[in-house]
Symmetry: none
Subunit: 193 residues, 4 copies
Amino acid sequence: MTASRRRLDPAARRLEIVEAAERVIRRLGASARVEDVVREAGAAKGTFYLYFPTWEALLACLRDRTFAAFDTRFPVPAIPEADWLTVVNTLATGFVEFVLELEGLHEAIFHGALAKTAEPGSSDSATLRIAALLRAGAAAGVLAQLDPEPTARLIFAVLHETVDAIAQGEDRARAIGAMRAILTRTLTPAPSA
Amino acid sequence: MTASRRRLDPAARRLEIVEAAERVIRRLGASARVEDVVREAGAAKGTFYLYFPTWEALLACLRDRTFAAFDTRFPVPAIPEADWLTVVNTLATGFVEFVLELEGLHEAIFHGALAKTAEPGSSDSATLRIAALLRAGAAAGVLAQLDPEPTARLIFAVLHETVDAIAQGEDRARAIGAMRAILTRTLTPAPSA
Amino acid sequence: MTASRRRLDPAARRLEIVEAAERVIRRLGASARVEDVVREAGAAKGTFYLYFPTWEALLACLRDRTFAAFDTRFPVPAIPEADWLTVVNTLATGFVEFVLELEGLHEAIFHGALAKTAEPGSSDSATLRIAALLRAGAAAGVLAQLDPEPTARLIFAVLHETVDAIAQGEDRARAIGAMRAILTRTLTPAPSA
Amino acid sequence: MTASRRRLDPAARRLEIVEAAERVIRRLGASARVEDVVREAGAAKGTFYLYFPTWEALLACLRDRTFAAFDTRFPVPAIPEADWLTVVNTLATGFVEFVLELEGLHEAIFHGALAKTAEPGSSDSATLRIAALLRAGAAAGVLAQLDPEPTARLIFAVLHETVDAIAQGEDRARAIGAMRAILTRTLTPAPSA
DNA sequence: AATGAATGAGGTTTCATTCAT
DNA sequence: TATGAATGAAACCTCATTCAT
């Protein structure tokens, strides 16, 4: 019964839950439940609700962690040394690899109920970051002049679809090739001359 | 008791259910339930399962009908009279308008559980059609040479994201402008020179 | 599993549930749960919600049934043969006996969440009936002139408290004696003269 | 960490909790929770259970305090100067006003789980006091001869119902009028003849 | 072919109380 | 004496699907 009443620093316990959730959702995808998470975390159900008001709040947390992890792994160079298009393509390919490694988390975070909860600060941060990139590139004259925000959305959709395609069995090389083609053609500035 | 036991031609009864479902799902979106559909159709719950093995099967059916309706409304000219790029842009804009008019059907058909059920013959028919267009355009030398299938998928994603953006309140003109920019830049053949 | 899928006329099944609920609540009082009722009724949990939108709705139903049963057992004579005070005292004593026999139903129906749901047509029907009696008696000059509605409420409270007292172990004769004293003194008309 | 570990005189700490509970329950009624009380008291959850074995014990304590406050505000004159009936009516009206001012405490103390916990020493103190009054008045020949204890219970029920009626929106004057009528008629001694 | 009553697993959330520190 | 993290038993309600009639 009370065999395992482990008292922990709140931050530590919260982290345990979050990490357990990550493991479980990677495995089970969007069909994971609070029940599954607490079992994996070795905690009681009520403990979950001590740290997250709702299941969706956990998902939002995982999403933010995931984006943060991406930023850490693929930092955007302040001043791109190589040409900007290469930077974008590298980031894009990195994003695809990264999301593919998320396994079930992908489904839970990008599809599902959370998708609609697109608050500016979280889910859209990806879009915002792309928009900033577009703006900077355009200012530097090395990327095409495009309406940053809506274009960023569409680019994100392209990245995301590339992931889904590969996840569904499409040939990786072809999928990435098509993605790079679209990005390159879209972003290459007009041959000014 | 048996007063309302209307015997009907199976096809007719099936159609009744499908059309009732369309009306209801337009109104209620993905939260529509079997219950709602049969009430609207004036049929019994069991009758639903006489015509559809699962709820998802109905959704798949609605999706196919929707794509068929699109084809009827926006037939692809066998031999485009104007330049091909205009045709593509027209179709794309038409698609966006069309999907926006679907109301709740949009959510139910494109998001939700169905998204994964991408059997080649149904959802992908959109993709297949775009791929055919790309292929034809490329053969005619009026569209860029691109890997048709994966590119078609990405183009479809771009269209779809444009719809979602507008549905979420993004300015219509900007959203469509960004879409056209991506399509045009992607599909314009290299200045052969 | 599916051992016991008994198909029943809705009215019959509803009655089964209601009667099962009565038995169970008599036994368990206000702590009875949906679970308990369906177990007793030999039905599935979902079946309960087919007939009652909420647990409280069942309680309201039981309350109405109970009042109806009381009316059947103690019909108010249209034209009281004996003197009116005797009629009132008889009804009052009958009410006390009747409610005492309700066992746990008493607690569930009169105390608990339902108490606040006093819609005119149900719970208050007791009060309304008493008020009518007061009015008729006063008109006939055989009961004191009292403000009918608020007085009826108070009389009902007196009856109810008498039940509670006895249920809590108070001596039955004394409790009923005190009740009759209050009623008699309150309702006896002033010695007009 | 241990910054807020205020060591306090046990009695003082207990009082803090009790007063916090009063404030909170006035505001939230019977839906107040342990959590709310300790937050208001600036204490930890465990501290609550250092002073009260259960939530209900706190409620019982509040009830006793409330009755004590009533006694302070409406002391029963040892030897009533005016006639006894006036005293009773004044007390009764005072009680009604007093309880109405309790706000949420009313619900928590008089209704809810506590109602059944009628230990002689607490809740019934009201009843006991009324009984004493009845006894004294009867001995003095200025109140009717009635069985004191059960009658006191019923009178208390009448007072209480009057409060509930007003709290539920009944016209104050009518409710109090009806109450006084019942009390007066019940307690007026027979015109000895 | 049609009906609609019945099923029951499944999921989220609450909160009094405990106990390791 | 004080803390507050942890517990876990409930409890309600939904709805796709089944199947007796």
